[in-house]
Amino acid sequence: MTRSAVYWRIASFLVAAGFVGLWQLIANLKLISQVYLPGPDRAWAALVRGFTSGDLASKLLGTLEHMVYGWFLASVAGIALGAVIGSSRAARSYIAPSLEFLRPLPVSAIIPVAIAMFGLTQAMALFVISFGAIWPMLLATVHGFAAVEPRLYEVARSLQMSRLAVIFKIALPSAAPDILAGMRLSLTVALILSVVCEILAGLDGLGHSVLLSARAFRSADLFAGVILLGVIGYLTSLMMSYAESRLLGYRRGIR
C-alpha cells in the first residue's frame, strides 16, 4: 500500500466512526425510540456481556456449525456431481437443462418440504442448507468442465491418461476459478439459510436468539446478534478471497 492509500483508508475509517457517532447522537437525543434503536454503546455492552457470560459464544458456534456443515456437505457433493455431469457430453445434454430450470428457484421454498420430511430437526437444517448451497458449486463445476480448453483433452488422450487422472489433473484445476467463485456465493447462501432454519425450527444459534430478543424487545441484544451475523458474513468472505488468491495466484502469470 502506498502512503496516500493508507491516508485514504484512515480517512475512510474516520468517516465510518463519524456514522457511529451520528448513530450515538440519534440514540442519545431519543429521536427514535430506544425500544427500536439502542445506541452503539448499549449494543456494544450487550456484545461484551453476551461474550463474558458465554451465552453469545455458544449461539455463534451453533450458527457457524450449521453453516459450515451444510456448506461442506454441499461443496463435496456439488463438486463431485458437477464433475460427473460435466465430464460427459451425454450427461451434460440430458441433465444440464433441468439444472438450468431449477437454478432460479428461490431455494428457501424447499424448507416446508424438508420440514414435512424431517420435522423441526438438525437434519432438516442440514438438508436445507446443503440443498441451497449446492447450486452455485454444481453449476460452476459443470460449466467449468465444459469450458476446458479442448486441446488439453487431446493432450490427455495422447498421453493415455485415465478418466480419473483427466478429472484431477486437467479438468478440476482448469475449472478451479469457477468453482471457487461458486463456493464463495454458497457461503452467503448457507449463512442466510442457517439463520432462517434456526428461526423456524428454534435450533440453537444466532438466528433463534435474535428473534427471541426481538420478541422480548431487548433491542440491545438484538443489535449485538445482528452485528455478529454481519461479522460472520464479512470474515467468511474475507477468508474465501484469501483462499482464492492463494490457490489461483499461479494463474496471474499465465493470463
Binding site: A11, Y94, P97, A109, V113, V196, L229, G230
Partner: protein, 254 residues
Amino acid sequence: MMADRVKALALPVSLLLIFEIWARSVHLHSDSLAPPSAIVVALWSALADGAILTATRDTLLSAFAGLFLGGSIGLALGILLGLLQPVDRLMEVTIEAIRPIPSIALLPIALIALGFGYRMEIAIVGFACVWPVLILTRAAVREVEPRLMEVSHALRLSPADRVRKIVVPAALPRIFVAFRLAAGIALIVAVTVEIAINPIGLGAAIMAAQQGLQADLMLAYLFWIGLIGFGLNAGLNLMQARLFGRAALVRDDA
C-alpha cells in the same frame, strides 16, 4: 435442435413418470410426497379458487416494491460514488461494514419496528437490493468512456444534465444487468421472509399447506414458485437481449 429439446425433457419427464407409477403402485400416503397427478389437481384447484393468484400478487408486490426502493437507493449511491472518486474512497469502510450483513438478519429489527405485513417485507427486500445495484452501477459509471465526460465538460453541462444526458445513457446496459440480478434476489428474499415469519404471500401459503399436511398442495406451491422464478429470469433475460443486445454482455459478478 429438436434432438436437444427431446434430450432436455427426457430426464424430468421420465422421473415424473417413474414417480407417478411408483406412488400409485404402493398407494402412497405421505405428508411430504404426492404423485404428480395429484399435484396437478391441487395446483388447478388452487388456481381456480384464486388463492394462489392472491398469494402471487402479494409476493410480487412486495418483491417489486422492495426492488424499486432498494434499487433507487443503490442507483443513486452508485452514480454518486462512481462519479466522485474521493467520496467513494471515504465511504469504503462504511459500505464494506454494512454490506455483509445477511438481509435476513434484519428480519427481527424490521419486525419490531414495522410489524408484520408488506412494509417489513419491502424494507428487507430493499436492503438486499441496494448492494448489487450499487456495486454494478458504480463499476459501470466508472467505466463510462472518458471522452464522453470530456464532451460534457466542453459543453459545460450542469452536473444534473451530465448525469442525465451522458452518464446514465452510457451506463444503462450494465445498470439493467444490475436490476435483473437484483430482481432475482428480491424474489428470493421475499419468499424467504414469508416462509420465516411474515403471514402473507406464496411463502406463507406453502408453509400453511405443509402445516395442514397437504403434501399435494405444498408441492404444487413449490412448483409454482419455481415457475415464477424461472419466468421472471427468462423474461428479464429476453428483455435485456431485446433492449441492449450485445451491449449488456458483461460479467454478472456482483
